[in-house]
Amino acid sequence: MVLKAFFPTCCASADSGLLVGRWVPEQSSAVVLAVVHFPFIPIQVKELLAQVHQAGHVGLAVLGTWCHRRQGAEERLGPFLEGLGAIFSHEPWLQLCRERTSGLWSCKATCQQGPARVKDQVMLVFYDQRQVLLSQLHPPAALPDRQAGDAAASAEGLAAVFDTVARSEALFRSDRFDEGPVRLSHWQSEGVEASILAELAKRASGPVCRLLACLLSLISAASACRVFKLRPLSFIWSKLAVCGQLGHRLEQLELVFSTQKAEKPAQLMRKANVLVSVLLDVALGLALLSWLHGKDRIGQLAEALVPVADHVAEALRHLLQWLMGAPAGLKMNRALDQVLGRFFLYHLHLWISYVHLLSPFIEHILWHVGLSACLGLTVALSTLSDIIALLTFHIYCFYVYGARLYCLKICGLSSLWRLFRGKKWNVLRQRVDSCSYDLDQLFIGTLLFTVLLFLLPTTALYYLVFTLLRLLVVAMQGLIHLLVDLVNSLPLYSLGLRLCRPYRLAAGVKFRVLEHEAGRPLRLLMQINPLPYGRVVHAYRLPSCGCHPTHSWGSLCRKLFFGELIYPWRQRGDKQD
């Protein structure tokens, strides 16, 4: 195999010295991590390598020599460098060389054991140490735990390079201003990277997290107390979307401010995503709040609400009058039509009276509910969805009445149809069996069947109309929920990271061939290939509220046809009504 030497770009201008890094025999590649400059004491170099081995469980060694010289100055250093090969024996021994003036590279690898041969084919792959150290490969290679004993990294292919650089962080901690025994050149040798803001945030985060964690545990303890578990309150709680959203946010905040440190980078990203999402939510909510409370918009909304409810009731009244006449030219059963129509009209009248009763208080209610927008835009949207549900409660009632009537009719029709054909539903065996009926059973059955069959169009029409209205309301609520889900689950921190620091999220690597001269080794530049935006969202999306519709289109159509009630949103852990 061709020998590959991974060389950091920051060491290309360093002075002559020893190459320190890791040799991966399976891929015949040498990952150079740093250059040790003269003068040095071999024992201290070996001690440093042993320290790094203990800290990161990565086996480093002296791989060869690095020579950065002017043309013609090679005679003095030549035998000295070869002598070093005897002190730090390593198979194969690399000798990299670069001329200062022309910038031309040369590379040689020698093997002492076996037939003494010089490997001609050496490939130089340059890599940016800082980017490789900070980036994370997706999908992450399955590596053994860092704490688990002495297991060295067994990553495949190029992931081994990333892993080696990541585990050797202890080597990069000293810079050239430190008075250490060994002088190194690596990406941080000009000065260790640090930021005052980051350090202050780290110091402050401990006590702040503890305080907020206490507060949040108090709130969750209060909400879990026995009073709220009583039947009517718990029922209302489970039906309101606001409570679901608030509970979800509370869980997320508990995750962010937990005092446990995140072990894996995925957990850290999740915490960061949740924090940014909550902050954006609150910012948008405050903007909405300031817009609502300025220029008396709440008053205008409250004044517009009752006329809108009246208008909707008037439209429903027209609809019922139309159904009671000859809708779309269909001939309905007069008596049933009048009964159903009058029943629904009375219900509507009751509803409108209640709305008019509430009208003086609406402005105050809206004002106080509008304050909930300061908890976040998602909470405000959930409140809106709940208000829509409450205002269209009469449509929901009409739908339930129509559906139950229709369902009863369909059940009756199907069982009487079986009787008509001389069959019966066997409950024990869950199948249709033949059965011999008496004459009077058959007579009554056929009579009832005829009655139900001829009353079917009327009921079916009422059911159809009210189901369509209900589906309209459900669609509106569904849109709002979709928006809330979007704000909840979008990983904004990861998207921002991909935009501003694309090397942090790596899908892989890419190579570029650098200028090539005949007789010189092949030089490649390895760069990070960033993850595409779609995969970033897919990998880091946050779990949403969990109130997704559980039906497929087929089962939905089936339920509509048989008149079973549809509940579009089932919260997790709800009892079936």
């Binding site: 195999m1 061709v2 590959k4 891929q27 015949s28 084919q121 490939m123 792959v125 495949e156 292919g157 190029l158 892989g508 690597v509 890419k510 190579f511 061939v513 090539h516 092949l522 490649l524 290939n529």
Partner: protein, 187 residues
């Protein structure tokens, strides 16, 4: 060592294949597709604007004209950035892997790198698409089954060169893969 030859693609358009032999273990093949023709661009723009002008005479709303201009510009930018591929490159490096790059007309480059450990072989496959066409593809090893193939990755998907061009590329790739197989066979 650089070398340029002209071939044709399956629709009859002209392609230029540039071969660069950097070293015995590294080769690059660059296929340049025919550029965006001025004729088709003018035709599409004229059609869209004539349709918009027709709508304008019906509706007397000048927003339609500005919308048509906007749509044409956005459509052109989107086409250049996301659809029109100018050049496709295959870089094969012995014992590292195979890299495929597509450069779009707007300058965007999209790269995929496959490590040599995952590559089983490079073959020319036949496909029936209104007629028989040939395409070069990379077979990837299955981690579970040692002799199985987990994925077939086609190369030069938008340039679609003909068999003569593919044979040239195939021969060069097989020379390099032969080194790889020899190296993995010997301990």
């Amino acid at each position: 060592m650089e070398d340029e030859q002209s071939f044709s693609d399956i629709c009859g358009g002209r392609l230029a294949l540039q071969r660069r032999y950097y070293s015995p273990s590294c080769r690059e093949f660059c296929l340049s597709c025919p550029r965006l023709s001025l004729r088709s661009l003018t035709a599409v723009t004229c059609t869209v604007w004539l349709a918009a002008y027709g709508l304008f005479t019906l509706c007397e709303n000048s927003m339609i004209l500005s919308a048509a201009i906007f749509i044409t510009l956005l459509g052109l930018l989107g086409y250049l950035h996301f659809v029109k591929i100018d050049q496709e490159t295959l870089l094969i490096i012995d014992s590292l892997g195979i890299q495929m790059t597509s450069s779009y007309a707007s300058g965007k480059e999209s790269t995929t790198f496959i490590e040599m450990g995952k590559v089983k072989d490079v073959v020319i496959n036949e496909a029936i698409y209104m007629k028989v066409i040939y395409y070069l593809c990379i077979l990837l090893k299955d981690p579970v089954e040692p002799h199985g193939i987990s994925q077939v990755v086609p190369v030069f998907q938008s340039a679609k060169p003909r068999l003569d061009c593919l044979i040239e590329v195939y021969r060069s790739c097989q020379e390099i893969l032969a080194h790889q197989k020899a190296a993995s066979a010997s301990p």
